[in-house]
Amino acid sequence: MSNPRLWLPLLVFAGLAAAPFLGLGQGHSLTLLARGMIFGLAAVSLMLLVGGAGLVSLGHAAMMGMGAYAVVVLDHAGITEAWMVFPAGILAAALFALLTGAIAIRTSGVHFIMITLAFGQMAFFTTSSLAVYGGDDGYTLFSRTEVFGARWLENRLIFHFVCLGLLVACWALVQVLLESRFGRVLRAARENETRARALGFSPTPYRLLAYVIAGAMGGLAGVLLANSAEFVAPAYLAWQRSGDLLFMVILGGLAGPHGALVGALAFVLVEEWLSHAMEHWRLVFGPLLILCVFFLRGGIVGLLRRG
């Protein structure tokens, strides 16, 4: 019980699995939970970069956008089969990550933040100018992705568990990656690059691989987001969205992927709850974030470790 890295996510996953049967089975609760899990997935993938490799990306929304727009492009071409759509979304994001990452990982620190922002903005303006796919107005999907021609994902309970399953898989993957030799090299390079190089490791290929894997998972989250909202717009790629993802990761805490998971769920649920409760909810949410930084060193999960 001493390691929240494992029991906390398992508790969260159990809670999410049980939620539909504990009075949260209505459509809108499931929609909200799905949203939380999708952003959780994206945040966990971003965590691999931020917490693992020390690469703070402000362009992660572009990865989600690649996944979401892959759904759009295929839908426009009449293809809605999951075995095409999901791999396409993941590959599109991975490819974008590979191309931009090859340039971005030459930099570090705040320069990395800015160069990922730059690539994110380029993707944003590109999607805004795609008149075929609705340009800035976005694109309405008239059906969700199908599985062997069956419209299972339209059922919100099934969609809930698909999101949960993929979230668990991605969390496990990130967890395993960070514990592996691969993760140790990333961390070693983050803490002391010179030493890592002296030991004969060039961190560059490791970082690029981490960037591509995180991008691919971001693309997966994008495919799910497109299916959840049944609508895709360039707003999904805006830098503010990348910022939100980053804030989820920091809010949760950088101790491990469980932090990102908790941070994303907390961010989405508190935002929804506050905005429903009052009009000027940001007057409360803003100071809440500041207080979290002041008093929760190590994010929300830092609290658990101490207590």
Partner: protein, 306 residues
């Protein structure tokens, strides 16, 4: 595009550039000297604009509004420093990012509660309301020339302060090696407060100067903040000289790119798609330039830390 038009566009680019410089100068100092990422710098610009507009409306005079807004922006910055930022100096960058984002959320909502959601206006002062005919049919507003002049004067003043005074020397030293400065017995907290207050005032000044030509509205600082970050990263973090050069570069690229891109695209495609592609490319141009510069000079044009 003829030569006169190109010259006018160049002037426009410079004028936008100095406005960016006023915002970026404070940001780069705070970042360089205090190693503090202040996302809330953009809302300080917004608060400056709101203070200027409301004080000008209250007193009925642009000049009184400007005069009162500057100390008000300074005080506002110091209050923020005391309440929030002071507790973040010894924290990592990510904590600073999250906390200052909280400040953005609060202040963007706050001005909406206080001043309403509708945009506000600040009239151009009588003295500067005319224009200089630069080309046939186009007046170049005197006020814009005043912004240009004020920006250049501020740049000169900053250069003097940073390069020729004792406080400036400490600031430069702090940007290069902060622990060493502390070790030499300098009260780094006081230096931080000084730099921070000055940065806040510069952002506020930029806000007041922009208020008569730009719409004063909630969230007006957000997009400018991103451009200001682009500027300081291109220029090299902590370098006022770099920020100046980069701000002018970004201003020129933004303005001239918008005028030229559609024409350039017309060489490759038909007119209507050239216009749209050109416009989309023009929006990206600044980011393309930044990515290119960072790819070849990862620390920016004038890195403060060797």
């Amino acid at each position: 595009m003829n030569t006169t038009l190109l010259l006018v566009q160049g002037l426009n680019g410079l004028q936008f550039g100095v406005l960016l410089f006023l915002v970026a100068a404070g940001l780069t100092l705070v970042f360089g000297v205090m190693d503090f990422i202040n996302l809330a710098h953009g809302v300080q610009y917004m608060v400056g604009a709101y203070l200027g507009a409301s004080l000008a409306a209250l007193t009925g005079s642009f000049w009184l509004g400007l005069l009162l807004a500057l100390p008000a922006a300074l005080v506002f910055g110091l209050v923020l420093e005391f309440l929030v930022f002071r507790h973040l100096y010894d924290r990592d960058h990510l904590s600073q990012v999250l906390a200052t984002f909280g400040v953005i959320l609060f202040l963007n909502e706050g001005v909406k509660v206080v001043f309403g959601a509708a945009p506000m206006q600040m009239p151009v002062p009588e003295l500067l309301s005319g224009g200089v005919p630069l080309m046939d049919g186009l007046l170049y507003p005197t006020y814009r020339l005043a912004i240009l002049a004020a920006g250049l004067a501020t740049a000169a003043l900053l250069w003097f302060l940073v390069e020729r005074t004792r406080a400036g020397m400490l600031v430069r030293a702090g940007a290069t090696n902060a622990p060493m400065v502390t070790a030499l017995g300098v009260d780094i907290r006081r230096l931080f407060m000084l730099v921070f207050g000055f940065g806040a005032m510069l952002a506020g000044f930029a806000g007041v100067m922009a208020a008569p030509i730009l719409s004063v509205e909630p969230g007006m600082g957000d997009n400018l903040l991103i451009l200001a970050f682009v500027v300081i990263v291109i220029g090299g973090i902590g370098s006022v000289r770099g920020a100046f050069v980069a701000a002018l570069l970004v201003g020129l690229v933004e303005t001239i790119g918008r005028g030229l891109m559609p024409d350039l695209m017309r060489l490759f495609m038909d007119a209507s798609s050239a216009r749209q592609t050109g416009a989309a490319l023009a929006s990206m141009l600044v980011y393309i330039v930044m990515a290119a510069i960072l790819a070849f000079r990862p620390a920016g044009l004038f890195p403060a830390r060797a």
